[in-house]
């Protein structure tokens, strides 16, 4: 048991912290939002230079062979800065799908391009009807010539509007909620028959709904057997978003503490009220418990026992979700009116936490899964 970071990890965290402090202030972020992409394209290039885009990939693919803890460190900093870029979509979700299911040729073609910053991915799995049910896939795949053709629709695909390649799940056989019979496929962002309706989420990150009509696709792994991979991609996503939530909580805790020191009411700083002090202490406790859970998630992503892995990830989703909900609600409450405004940063963190909670199964969903497995 060991909670120390290696020297490399410490360097990694420090360099990302510095980068974001220098170039990702709240005003700079506003600038990125106003660009056509809605995120920092020049930041993306910098991430590539720093090696962040290849972090979890093997050296042969231009990566650094980093593990989930390294990803956790990066995501935590991104959470603190409210980074808008498609890192999760490309490196974590898409990257994990490629690493787990891609052929040597596919990996060789795509992973180095991601690492260099020249290719972005998205992971298109969720469908309207499924809500959080991972096995419900109605989008269909059928063979056509040497490849595959997809038909269907995908919902709330993170950064699906700008991805160069999209990892799409589709059914090759079975009932619509059968875990068996699902495949993963690679679709080009500009494929014929693919229409993408892009929009922003509540936290101003981008997403898209996809409609697929006879879209040509290439199988990623053996079609029909991909459910286990999908689960692992989602688990990696939950772990990364948990770390991001911790970064966001840190920021909210820090800015609320600072606000309570400086903001005066009835002639004294609001932080001199014992009720405010204890609330801040409770936020701190929630943050630390959430941090512990994000660590659990990171350290469970590579756990080999699937039952243990699923259980730990579900616990982490619940723990981080509850912590973030408490911290973000209290951050607004203690800020008062100003916290409710678009102009002030805390509401943006609040909404990032909200979006994170509703991705890949919310607290109630994962708690119910854990409840079903109580022994």
């Amino acid at each position: 048991m060991d909670f120390d970071l290696s020297d490399d990890q410490r360097m990694l965290a420090d360099s990302v912290t510095r980068l974001m402090a220098d170039r990702y202030g709240f005003e700079a972020r506003k600038g990125f939002l106003k660009t056509p992409a809605g995120w920092g394209t020049e930041m993306w290039a910098t991430y590539a230079e720093l090696g962040l885009l290849g972090l979890p990939f093997a050296e042969e693919h231009g990566g650094f062979g980093g593990g989930p803890v390294d990803v956790m460190l990066v995501m935590q900093e991104f959470g603190r800065a409210l980074a808008l870029e498609p890192y999760l979509a490309t490196v974590v979700l898409g990257g994990t799908a490629l690493r787990l299911a891609g052929s040597a040729a596919q990996q060789g073609a795509i992973l180095p391009a991601i690492a260099e910053g020249t290719m972005k991915l998205a992971f298109a799995h969720g469908e309207r009807e499924a809500r959080y049910d991972l096995s419900l896939v109605r989008t269909s795949a059928r063979r056509a010539g040497g490849g595959w053709v997809l038909d269907g629709a995908k919902n709330v695909v993170l950064h699906g509007d700008s991805a160069d390649r999209i990892v799409v799940s589709a059914r090759v056989s079975g009932e619509i909620d059968d875990p068996d019979g699902i495949g993963l496929f690679l679709v080009a962002g500009d494929a014929a028959g693919l229409s993408r309706r892009g929009y922003t989420l509540r936290d101003e990150t981008r997403a898209a709904d996809l409609a697929l009509h006879n879209v040509a696709a290439e199988a990623l792994g053996e079609p029909g057997t991909s459910f286990a991979v999908i689960e692992r991609v989602v688990q990696a996503g939950i772990a990364a978003m948990g770390a991001e939530a911790v970064g966001a909580m840190e920021a909210m805790q820090a800015m609320t503490l600072e606000y309570s020191r400086t903001r005066e009411q009835f002639g004294k700083p609001i932080g001199s009220n014992q009720v405010v002090q204890h609330r801040l202490a409770e936020m701190l406790m929630a943050l630390e418990q959430g941090r512990s859970m994000a660590m659990l998630a990171a350290m469970s992503v590579d756990e080999t026992d699937p039952v243990e892995r699923a259980r730990s990830i579900a616990m982490a989703k619940v723990g981080c979700g509850q912590a973030a909900r408490f911290v973000s609600q209290q951050a607004i409450q203690l800020h008062g009116g100003i916290g409710m405004t678009e102009e002030y940063a805390v509401g943006h963190y609040f909404r990032r936490a909200l979006v994170i909670e509703h991705m890949f199964g919310d607290t109630a969903y994962h708690l119910a899964r854990l409840a079903a497995d109580v022994e």
Binding site: E129, F266, Q329, G336, G337, T341, L354, V355, M359, L367
Partner: protein, 401 residues
């Protein structure tokens, strides 16, 4: 002691319900059922319909157009109106400036403003809070200097909701900066929003809506006859206004409406292969809220029933219980409606949806509005005195600690 409505009260409720059913414009109702806030024109239209029926100035004396209802009738009307759901009466007009003018206004002020307020010919807004003051209202700095027949007002107000819609604003200003106590030296003015020198700056809320504003006063000239009550006694007016009937403070109708919206969504979304509404945990969350709403409803009845018999007209400290418990419910019910929506709670695609008017997507609209109300109502425990302030009030007024 009897919790049930009397036959007369039941008949009244049925009458109100029927009237709303028959007269509320269908498109207003449909939009509100999806969770949208009413548009300005919808709110004006509905208040005028009610006013024509004599049901707008519900807490005013008959001579000024009030319907002469009991407190229980008022409560019944408000519950039915919220549950419809119909636009609420504009509280600035009906529960704020109206009663203030009736209590403190000159005859000329009453005649000029009351009928127009009841009919929403004038849209009023409230200029109380100032930047940096928060719940500490008495620290206000906006100054009004006497210059002949006018006051010249300089300063700014914040959180001025619907100022961008408003024709008039009632404003607290400092007329005597040297008063011994901060509460002295404040006056209460009625300001025409078209007066030169007024600038309204929108404040966008975290739900993306424009509801709040900052209002700047730059040498704004206000005729002296637009002062309500004596100079430097405006704090008395403000206290009266803030302590006025708080029947609607719990906003139970809104909480009920959000639970209904959550159930609507839960009937069409899927969970574990079945409609979400069949999930025991989800049902338990609803059951708990229904218990809490029932308790709050009875506590509200008790406050209303006691208030109707009190002569002194001072606010019941239990109002703070209504405020705290009411906002807790507003926040848990909006949270429920948002959670029911699942991943659809995340998108903010109002414009995209509007652009596809030929292909309505009711679930997506409801989901977006669910998150919108969740975000907007985080403010419920902040405005009107934060819940922490309410507990301070209970500490002093009831516990006497």
């Amino acid at each position: 002691m009897d919790l049930r409505f009397t036959p007369e009260e039941r008949a009244f409720r049925d009458e109100v319900r029927a009237f709303i059913r028959d007269h509320l414009p269908a498109d207003t109702r449909d939009r509100m059922r999806l969770g949208y806030p009413p548009r300005k024109q919808d709110q004006v239209a509905w208040q005028r319909i009610l006013n024509k029926q004599g049901w707008a100035a519900i807490s005013w004396p008959k001579e000024w157009g009030g319907p002469g209802w009991t407190a229980v009738q008022r409560m019944i009307f408000l519950e039915e109106n919220q549950a419809a759901p119909a636009p609420e009466l504009l509280s600035f007009n009906i529960t704020m400036i109206g009663p203030v003018l009736i209590q403190f206004g000159t005859e000329a002020q009453k005649r000029r403003f009351l009928p127009r307020a009841a009919n929403l010919d004038d849209w009023w807004c409230q200029g109380f809070s100032e930047p940096g003051a928060g719940s500490d209202l008495a620290s206000l700095k906006t100054a009004a200097k006497r210059d002949g027949d006018h006051y010249v007002v300089n300063g700014s107000k914040i959180w001025t909701s619907t100022a961008h819609n408003a024709d008039w604003c009632f404003v607290l200003v400092r007329t005597n900066p040297n008063a011994a106590k901060r509460q002295e030296g404040i006056s209460f003015l009625l300001v025409d929003m078209k007066t030169p020198g007024i600038t309204v700056r929108p404040i966008i809320s975290i739900d993306g809506s424009h509801h709040l504003n900052e209002v700047f006063f730059d040498d704004v000239r206000v005729p002296v006859e637009m002062r309500v009550y004596e100079e430097n006694r405006g704090w008395d007016v403000a206290k009266y206004l803030l302590g006025n009937e708080r029947t609607g403070i719990a906003r139970l109708g809104k909480s009920r409406e959000r639970v209904a919206a959550a159930k609507d969504t839960a009937r069409v979304v899927r969970y574990n292969g079945r409609p979400l509404i069949e999930d025991p945990m989800f049902r338990q969350r609803i059951a708990q809220m229904e218990v809490d709403m029932k308790a709050l409803q009875i506590t509200q009845y008790r406050v209303v029933s006691a208030g109707a018999k009190k002569a002194d007209g001072r606010p019941d400290p239990l109002s703070s219980v209504l405020k705290v418990k009411g906002t807790e419910l507003l926040q848990s019910t909006t949270e429920l409606a948002m959670d029911a929506a699942g991943p659809l709670a995340a998108p903010f695609w109002a414009q995209e949806l509007a652009a596809m008017a030929n292909e309505p997507d009711l679930l997506a609209e409801a989901a977006e509005q669910a998150t919108g109300s969740y975000l907007m109502l985080r403010a419920a425990s902040i405005y009107g005195g934060t819940n922490e302030i309410q507990k301070n009030i209970l500490t002093k007024a009831v516990l006497r600690l």
